[in-house]
């Protein structure tokens, strides 16, 4: 017997969590002397007000879709991949190398080549923790965190030395102009839709949406997805069925790492068009919250990624407009993560009880 209807589980609970987070954020904003309603208006208009702002929102959302999907795929195999941050950073390195050292004749080919390189580099960075988990039982949470920390000095060293551009900045040279991915205004333009060309949203959004569909098919329509979910639900049952644990852990983590790496299509190839220091900007970690909130389902992840895109972009506008420190915005984001993720049960339990008592009344 399900404790409550599906719609309550997938829509009502996250919505209420969000509302709670908003209320407490409001209190926080009021405490530092601003009007919470005005702040909310600023945030919403900052994220959705103009098509330039919306472009930023979509750009962030694209990042979060990739990292959210990465967490979700691993999660279905009961692997908690905390390493999205590092995998995306190393993925960026792969994309940068492919774009810098191979003279692609056209952006479409660069997209395929660079995207593949990003995926392979990201997957490779996930492969070692995956192998250690599968063969040695080293906990994937610990090893992926360590691999995050290892990714920073590796890329930092390269950006300060071997692949550094001329000048003061630790970054690679810019990629050739011909291989720049079309931005969203160009794409929408072909359909006759006007959209600001000053924002960073680009063709990577299309790839992210395709990735959502791809992950959905993989998890719910293929043998591999079936085996992955079975393994994630019950390792003992998977062994009985003849599902190879090592194989599932490796493949799920490789796909997860590849998805995280593919974030580079957006931030490295689509936006910066070069690799800069700290290119991932925490998107790998936000992916965990996005997957959690999206219930590890691509559709949920899409919605959660958009929400976090709004929070990110709106938050940036908020801190600029009200001159409140950037950290306050982080507090608001953290509240959302806390309520939708960690404190999920706090909202869930009372609602479950409510539905149970409602049902009991019906029975009587």
């Amino acid at each position: 017997m399900n404790k409550m209807p599906n719609w309550a589980d997938t829509i009502l609970v996250p919505l209420l969590s969000l509302l709670l987070a908003a209320v407490i954020s409001g209190v926080v904003i009021a405490l530092i002397g601003h009007n919470p309603i005005y702040a909310l208006k600023l945030m919403v208009s900052g994220a959705l007000g103009t098509s330039t702002n919306f472009s930023y929102t979509l750009y962030y959302a694209t990042n979060f879709i990739f990292t959210g999907l990465a967490v979700a795929v691993a999660y279905h195999a009961r692997m908690f991949n905390i390493g999205g941050e590092g995998q995306a950073y190393i993925g960026g390195l792969g994309a940068a190398l492919a774009c810098l050292y191979i003279p692609w004749p056209h952006w479409t080919l660069a997209l395929i080549g660079g995207g593949l390189a990003a995926a392979i580099f990201g997957a490779a960075w996930a492969a070692i923790p995956a192998y250690l988990q599968a063969k040695r039982g080293s906990h994937i949470v610990i090893t992926t965190i360590m691999f995050n920390y290892m990714s920073y000095p590796v890329v930092n060293y390269l950006l300060n030395g071997p692949i550094k551009a001329e000048g003061m900045e630790p970054a690679t040279p810019s990629f050739a102009a011909e291989i720049a991915l079309p931005n969203l205004s160009a794409i929408l333009g072909t359909f006759g839709i006007a959209f600001s060309d000053r924002g960073p949203a680009n063709f990577a959004l299309v790839i992210a949406l395709l990735a959502c569909v791809g992950v959905w098919i993989l998890i719910w329509r293929t043998k591999l997805g079936y085996e992955t979910r079975a393994f994630g639900e019950s390792e003992s049952a998977a062994k009985y069925a003849g599902i190879n644990p090592t194989k599932i852990i490796m493949i799920a983590m490789l796909i997860s790492g590849a998805l995280a790496g593919m974030m580079a299509i957006n931030n490295v190839m689509g936006e910066a068009e070069r690799l800069v220091l700290n290119a991932v900007e925490g998107a790998g970690f936000i992916g965990i919250a996005v997957a959690l909130m999206g219930r590890n389902h691509p559709l949920g992840i899409l919605i959660a990624a958009l929400l976090f895109g709004i929070l990110y972009q709106g938050g940036a506008e908020l801190s600029a407009e009200l001159r409140i420190p950037r950290e306050m915005v982080t507090v608001i984001q953290a509240l959302v993560i806390l309520f939708t993720g960690a404190l999920d049960n706090m909202v869930r339990m009372p609602i479950e009880k409510l539905f149970l008592s409602l049902r009991r009344k019906e029975a009587k």
């Binding site: 329509r221 079975a230 639900e233 049952a237 069925a241 003849g242």
Partner: protein, 512 residues
Amino acid sequence: MTEQSPAIELKGISKAFGPVQANKDISIRVMPGTIHGIIGENGAGKSTLMSILYGFYKADSGEIFINGKKTEIPDSQAAISAGIGMVFQHFKLVENFTVLENVILGVEDGFLLKPSLNKARKELRQLAEEYELNVDPDAVIENIGVGMQQRVEILKALYRRADILILDEPTGVLTPSEADQLFRILGRLREEGKTIILITHKLREIMDITDTVSVMRRGEMTATVKTAETNPSHLAELMVGRKVLLQVDKAPAQPGEIILDVKNLNVTDEQGVHRVKDVSFNIRAGEILGIAGVAGNGQSELLEVLGGYCVATGDIFMNGEPIDLTGDKSDGQSRRERGIAHVPEDRHREGLILNFSAWENTAFGYHKDGKYQKNGVLMDNAAIVQDTAEKMERFDVRPPNPMLAAKNFSGGNQQKIVVAREIERNPDLLLIGQPTRGVDIGAIEFIHKQIIALRDQGKAILLVSVELDEIMSLSDRIAVMFDGKIMGERLPDETNTQELGLLMAGVQGETA
């Protein structure tokens, strides 16, 4: 003289979990110095009722009287101080503590342990004499047998001054002789005036030892009768609500070719414990080999090896061809390809994925089957759903809804989903472990018929069960396992539970 007040009286106890009414207006009187049996199928509400009595759950309505006095039992502390002791099905002992330490755990007197231990030692000796409950107070729990551990649980309750003992399925883990010993102890406790409530689903135990018996069905108390005035088939009928065949009808076996030949099989687990020792046997087409034994004597490992997910040494031949026991290709998939189907002992841990729907579980292990695929890449979910619906119909799974998650079916229906999946593969060899554990009587009858039908189609069947009755009634040959070895083989017509019980306890008969 006024009438003696009952040790326990429950009046109108009701308890609902959500929409499920686990206990419905239950009233019961248990007189002091008697053994009162509570019998019912899984999910009938026995455990819920006892949990209310022991303070784990709070009843929605109803009253509890202990020795005639109305008593509130909000938690287990209150139950203990009311003189109620509980022996759980799964013991609550600290494995690496001694008997003595376990007994005083939670009721130590002061800051220092030593005085409590000394006091307990004295008291334990007294209790042991009084009730013939002999245990070594300094033995470490993990080193003593299950029967002994159970005695520690009883001692724990007595040490806490329990006058009322509740035992939940106490014989599930015991050999027949250990069970007899337990019953002697219970008899002794009764003589000393203790009141005992025995929860079980085994009719024989009820008949053997109880004074009165209450039958539960679907949360209701359907009858309370004097044991002397009833009989097993009447009780079974009260439990299920219809007439049940307790005996399995089957024609004599017609054994054919040897299907499975096992030679000198050995299993050593990861801790280096030698689990299966030099086991050899064979099974012919059209016969059922039953493996009897107390749980944990190597039967599980034997099934796992044959099922392809436990490493072993030795030789296994299937239809005369050797089976690879060690290579990478030795897994559940390869076994299925060789015509071995497997209903595992524990459907919750292995046979099913509880969060998967019935149709996903029907494909489980056979998800690579060609008829479940389309376009070469994707799984044909619609075909699996269709197949599941048909299987559910043939095996009378209720509710017949392929979309429902496995966890939402009752034990019997879950088991039918597994059995349908495996039997309908038309295997040459069926491995079936504990086919009716936690399964209601109606489904037991059905599953037994399916097993016999498969045998009569000329298939080989390896049956592992801890229920001796099941082994006796289904098997064409019986092998008994103890400590990883096969102690001997018997024909069901030429043996009896006493002889098998001795073999299960590792006592080699003269003829073996």
